[in-house]
């Protein structure tokens, strides 16, 4: 009679999300992600500066297509992300509760709020132009029209807390307006970010629009802040010291910088449109009347 043996668990090693693919870190490094009790959860890749460089390249390549897509199309894709995220609800709840601090019920609310957040931003795609654009009275025989345009490639240091809702709340406003982004996920709780990458990969989102790096923000963010081909940086998840370093580095090519919030953010609150306007340019065109 055979002895009953316990099934060997599959110890996962996750990878990065760059250009729509899931490569290992160029450095070959990984780190152990543990639960709040110290139990092994998975291995995550520890991205290096070269992974960040590759991710910027992928984001830059994706930018013309994504910013050139119709607002309606971008909204549809964001809505699709929300649908796909909903389908993974149980997995997200398990990953959030494993990190501790919240129970299953609360984690469920976080996931639901993330879905709602995506749907909310999806709706903004074809409305932001109406809110921020204007036709300007000028002293001459011209039309003068202003419209918001995406900034370009945006680096995002995702919040360390609120692993899913916080992450969705920083990515969605950046991409809905046509930017592409490189996101550094929460170092302590990267699993929801990795699962979100799997959601994004199956959501009709063109490869490279969102690139997700796991690892140390302190190591990677300065490289992104100094990168001459990055147009903006969101420092929400950076600690004060890192934020100052990054802002100084970002000055070289006049990146738009979104500083970290002073107070602890309640991600469940109404986000407002500030996160979208932070990475928009205003394009103004003069148009002669009567031709």
């Amino acid at each position: 009679m055979s002895e009953r043996t316990e099934r060997l668990s599959v110890r996962k090693t996750y990878k990065l999300f760059i250009g729509g693919a899931f490569p290992r870190s160029e450095s070959g490094r990984s780190y152990v992600v543990t639960s709040s009790k110290g139990d092994f959860l998975a291995n995550a890749a520890r991205a290096s500066r070269k992974d960040a460089r590759d991710a910027v390249g992928a984001a830059r390549k994706a930018f013309p297509g994504w910013s050139g897509a119709t607002a309606y199309n971008r909204g549809q894709i964001l809505y699709r992300i929300a649908e796909m995220l909903e389908g993974r609800r149980a997995q997200f709840v398990a990953e959030i509760t494993a990190m501790g601090g919240v129970g299953a019920k609360q984690a469920g609310e976080m996931v639901d709020a993330s879905v709602d957040r995506l749907v909310w931003y999806a709706g903004w795609s074809d409305k932001i132009g109406a809110v921020l654009g204007s036709s300007n009275p000028v002293a001459g025989p011209y039309f003068n029209l202003s419209s918001p345009e995406p900034t370009g490639v945006v680096a995002v240091v995702a919040p360390q807390e609120g692993p899913l809702l916080g992450l969705v709340s920083v990515i969605a406003p950046v991409i809905v307006t046509g930017n592409t982004c490189v996101v550094i996920a929460s170092e302590r709780a990267p699993l929801p970010a990795i699962t979100l990458a799997e959601v994004l990969a199956t959501s009709d989102l063109p490869g490279g629009v969102v690139n997700i790096l796991t690892g140390s923000a302190a190591e990677i963010a300065p490289w992104l802040a100094g990168h001459m081909d990055v147009n903006g940086i969101d420092l929400t998840g950076a600690d004060p010291e890192l934020a100052v370093t990054c802002e100084e580095l970002a000055a070289e090519n006049l990146k738009r910088v979104l500083r970290p919030p002073v107070d602890r953010v309640n991600w469940l609150a109404d986000p407002g449109i500030e996160r979208m306007t932070a990475f928009l340019e205003t394009k103004t065109v003069w148009h002669p009347i009567g031709i």
């Binding site: 990168h227 081909d229 990055v230």
Partner: protein
């Protein structure tokens, strides 16, 4: 080799016998060797040197139907001073244009030391009569081209009419006068490495000063293994005849990493004697910006962006 090299082209049969008598290329071996050399790690100071060396070897090329004198002049300015913000960047080796724009380039580059190369002989297909090809070459030479990049007749080569190819190269070489002749083999159309080796020898026997992989209009263009085979050919040709011939991979070399792989390949195959713009060139357009970006990254410590360099 039973027939002396001077006499192999005396008849179609001796030429054929000679070319088919060359040892075959071990395809798997060549691929593996090129891939292995491609893994060499060149960092810090060595990388800095390699980048400057590669910049000095670039044949900055524009071969589009839409080329204008203005575009050629802009490219020439870039060739002389690749990075306007940094005077320590060396000029490139040459600019490469169509024959009708040679005069423009010569005027723009006068006194700079950057050479003007011109494609000729019904580039890129090479499908015309010998008279037209020679006239095409003479036009470019008369306009002041110091280097002529000719294409071989691949149709004749693949049909086995080696003597026709040989005679065309000889005739073009004659039309070149003092100008250097680079012979484009268009390896992407030659199908096998054996053919690449044969075409290399054929071109060298006929008097080529350089052998060049590709026109850049056919995919695949330059690859590492093909360049390896050609580098072996020039090395062996020097040993057999005492005449040194240069090599120019062209097309598809876009990144600094690629360029450095080629330099490693040259050093390890033909030897360090070939690591000079007189003997090795890189035919490229977008490569130069990547080299400049890498150079700036090494100088400033921050990744460079393409917005800060001129468009080709």
């Amino acid at each position: 080799m039973t027939t002396p090299l001077a006499e192999v082209a005396s008849s179609p049969s001796t030429l054929r016998a000679f070319l088919h008598g060359l040892p075959g290329v071990d395809r798997v071996g060549a691929d593996a060797r090129a891939a292995m050399l491609g893994t060499r790690s060149i960092k810090t100071t060595a990388k800095k040197q390699a980048i400057d060396m590669a910049i000095g070897m670039v044949d900055l090329t524009t071969l589009e139907g839409a080329d204008t004198p203005g575009k050629v002049r802009a490219m020439c300015a870039k060739a002389v001073r690749p990075d306007p913000t940094d005077s320590s960047v060396p000029p490139v080796a040459a600019v490469c244009v169509y024959p009708d724009l040679v005069a423009t380039a010569v005027e723009a580059l006068a006194g700079s030391g950057v050479k003007v190369a011109s494609v000729a002989t019904s580039f890129p297909s090479g499908r015309s009569s010998l008279e037209v090809k020679v006239a095409d070459t003479s036009l470019a030479v008369a306009a002041g081209a110091a280097e002529i990049d000719m294409v071989i007749d691949r149709g004749a080569f693949l049909a086995g009419d080696y003597l026709k190819v040989y005679e065309e190269i000889v005739a073009t070489k004659e039309a070149c006068g003092d100008s250097h002749l680079k012979v484009i083999l268009e390896t992407g159309e030659l199908a096998t490495y054996d053919n690449v080796r044969r075409a290399s020898w054929l071109a060298m026997i006929a008097g080529a000063d350089f052998i060049k992989t590709s026109t850049g209009k056919v995919s695949p263009a330059a690859t590492l293994p093909v360049t390896l085979v050609m580098l072996e050919a020039v090395r062996d040709f020097l040993a057999a005849t005492g005449r040194k011939v240069g090599v120019k991979p062209a097309g598809g070399i876009r990144t600094t990493k690629d360029a450095i792989k080629y330099l490693v390949l040259v050093n390890e195959t033909a030897g360090p004697d070939w690591l000079h713009a007189d003997w090795f060139r890189l035919g490229a357009s977008s490569l130069l910006n990547d080299l400049l970006m890498q150079r700036q990254k090494m100088a400033t410590g921050r990744y460079a962006g393409p917005d800060y360099f001129t468009l080709d």
